[in-house]
Symmetry: C2
Subunit: 159 residues, 2 copies
């Protein structure tokens, strides 16, 4: 599908994958540590990690010899992917926490403050709102599944 | 799981759900339109929409009487969820497009420019980098699956 969202989901769109990325980002880099923390099966975790390594999101790095043992670290591509997930965490904190409040807060170590990851325009810096953004065909556009031209605008409501 | 990411995935983490949100955001608001565009089964689409309506992300609005027919629109909660997905689309455009270039570009209608959705700090406005953000326990924190204390820091690499 000629769609950047679908392609992203192909890499990171399965349940558990974002949680695996989060564990690695937080410094839980060994297979057994991640498996123990998430409580998933070894097979599921191995499958997810295999995809992430194949896609260059996670790198498998030896940390011990005889026998060789590996840990998992985020590549530059993986760090940017994780950055892109931060607003989804913020959304969950905002909309799903209930009275208890959010389970986790985020601190930006560059400025030192607790903060909320915002989605902003790279050009003007303003916060992006769904109603203010429009997609246009890019150089790699193709017409097909998921990318068909939009239906013509309709007159409002019960016309 | 006391984790805003897991809670977000419970609502929007299944394959196809973000693509359904995208279609609705782009103005493809009727069941048959979405189904035709994505090429998914009616059952799958009905399941996804049911979850989104139950979670208050999408609203089911009548657009015709006798017989009553409904269309789907994003609620304020849903618009913010869609905003949070924009950086994932940008990541896909950056890392998965190949030589053809991205299938779609994004224009910010407030400033009028083609742009890239960025993830920035709500406090200082700087772009967030994975290495510069740290999670801390929030008021709703609980120790359990997915949220166990981190292992102690280790000496670097093959120590």
């Amino acid at each position: 599908m000629a769609c950047s969202l679908a392609r992203t989901l192909d890499i990171a769109g399965e349940w558990w994958t974002p949680l695996v990325l989060r564990d690695i980002w937080r410094g839980r880099t060994r297979f057994d540590e991640i498996q123990d923390n998430l409580g998933v099966s070894r097979k599921l975790l191995a499958d997810r990690l295999e995809t992430l390594v194949r896609e260059g999101v996670v790198e498998r790095v030896p940390y011990q010899e005889r026998p060789t043992r590996y840990e998992y670290v985020l590549s530059p591509k993986g760090k940017q992917l994780w950055e892109a997930f931060m607003p989804l965490i913020a959304w969950g904190s905002r909309w799903t926490s209930g009275e208890a409040g959010p389970p986790a807060l985020a601190r930006h170590e560059l400025c030192g403050e607790l903060m909320i990851p915002r989605v902003t325009c790279s050009h003007c810096g303003e916060r992006l709102r769904a109603d203010d953004v429009r997609q246009e065909p890019g150089p790699g556009a193709r017409i097909g599944r998921g990318t068909r031209p939009l239906p013509r605008p309709r007159a409002a409501s019960t016309a």
